[in-house]
Amino acid sequence: MTDLRRIVLQFMPYLPFIILALAVVVAAHHIKVYW
């Protein structure tokens, strides 16, 4: 449990960057499919 918690805490700072990158990928996919 303690290890899991440490991994989650270490991963946190990158979360916004991952989410932003995903948003860009999804947006590009949407434009390709629906426009």
Binding site: M12, P13, P16, F17, I19, L20, A23, V26, I31, Y34
Partner: protein, 375 residues
């Protein structure tokens, strides 16, 4: 040894964050989503999505994409202390191709619901003071009904409308990038003092083996003086007074701009409160959250009731579309409020600022010199 014992102990009790999520957030997220589905069937008689057009919005988009849109805008803007509207609106227009006037009231549905999740958390955490929010909200009630008229009569074409959004995004971009400059950090003495206290407490909590907790358990924003002339508040050893006329005027003008676009108003209100009044982020949410809710509700009423009654010009919101986006946004904003203290602002803010600035420039340039691609 002490750390290990502390961690074990904190896992014996049911996890407080999970408990909070199940008690406050999950019912709200599920409820808003279910309401969206219900509205679809009542209003349209079918569930729009990837293969059927949303009738009011006039676009085809899978529902998961709307949840995702709400989630990522709610999360990224929650981290910098604003509501999702200012990112969701350009995304809805440029990526999802929702270019009608209805995009503004639809976005207001999102900004109305988005802050409720955070509101519960901040209220429990005593980051709450209605005296501070009151005069801003009164300004919003008078200002927000004016915006829809500007939108429908003067800004109904998507290209100039996007140019105005571009200006709003530019303001936000400059503020985001400015916040990490040494000049700005030197100027904002009060915020820095607050941040130092906050960081010290986080360190102490971690050293004691508990989850990081930046604010003391007895934290609260108290009203010291309340009159028609000014409001004086105190928080964590700091005192600050506000002129009610000033707050009223800010609330009024921000509300006109925000309801014209169809956003919550955080994009100008937060920079004003941070730069001119020097409020720390953890305190200013007490003012901005009730403000955004009041502004969005008043703006929505103006778009859907006042406008058609006075002019016969009806610009409905796509309620189900807004509700789907909002259910994602509530989750995103909650996650942001819980993870904010782990995020390195020094990298995030300039990066968000750059992206926002690039979109802003595209919108503004497209107004003067049409670009070879669609924005």
């Amino acid at each position: 040894m002490i750390v290990a014992a502390g961690l074990d102990e904190s896992f014996k009790v049911p996890h407080p964050m999970l408990h909070e999520f199940l008690r406050d957030q999950a019912p709200m997220i599920g409820g808003v989503f279910a309401l969206g589905v219900l509205v679809c069937f009542l209003q349209y008689g079918f569930l729009p999505g990837a293969d059927r057009t949303f009738p009011v919005a006039g676009i085809m988009v899978p529902i998961w994409h709307l949840l995702w849109l709400g989630f990522w805008t709610g999360y990224t803007l929650g981290i910098v202390g604003e509501a999702s509207g200012i990112f969701a609106l350009p995304y809805m227009m440029t990526i999802l191709n929702f270019n009608g006037i209805s995009v503004s009231p639809t976005s207001l549905v999102v900004t109305f619901l988005n802050p409720f999740g955070a509101l519960l958390g901040f209220r429990r955490g005593k980051q709450w003071n209605l005296d501070l929010a009151l005069w801003l909200c009164v300004g919003a009630v008078f200002g927000a009904p004016i915006g829809p008229f500007i939108r429908v009569y003067l800004l109904n074409d998507p290209v100039p409308f996007k140019a105005i959004i571009g200006i709003a995004l530019l303001i936000m971009s400059i503020h985001l990038c400015m916040q990490v400059t040494p000049w700005y950090l030197r100027r904002t003495v009060r915020q820095r003092a607050f941040k130092e206290k906050f960081d010290r407490l986080v360190k102490e909590c971690v050293a004691a083996g508990k989850a990081p907790c930046g604010l003391p358990p007895d934290f609260k924003i108290a009203t010291i003086e309340r009159s028609l002339k000014r409001i004086k508040i105190a928080y964590w050893g700091e005192e600050q007074s506000f002129s009610t006329v000033g707050m009223l005027a800010i609330g009024f003008f921000v509300a006109i701009a925000a309801s014209t676009l169809g956003v919550g108003g955080g994009f100008v209100l937060v920079p004003i409160l941070v730069s001119f009044y020097g409020l720390p982020l953890y305190v200013l949410v007490a003012a901005t959250i009730p403000y955004v809710i009041t502004l969005s509700a008043t703006g929505l009423i103006a778009y859907t009731i006042t406008m058609p009654m006075l002019t016969g010009n009806y610009t409905p919101a796509d309620w189900s579309f807004g509700l789907f986006v909002a259910s994602g946004a509530i989750l995103g904003a909650w996650l942001a409020s819980k993870t904010q203290k782990f995020i390195p602002e020094r990298y995030l803010k300039p990066m968000l600022g750059t992206i926002t600035g690039a979109v802003a420039l595209l919108y503004i340039i497209n107004y003067f010199w049409p670009l070879p691609f669609k924005v």
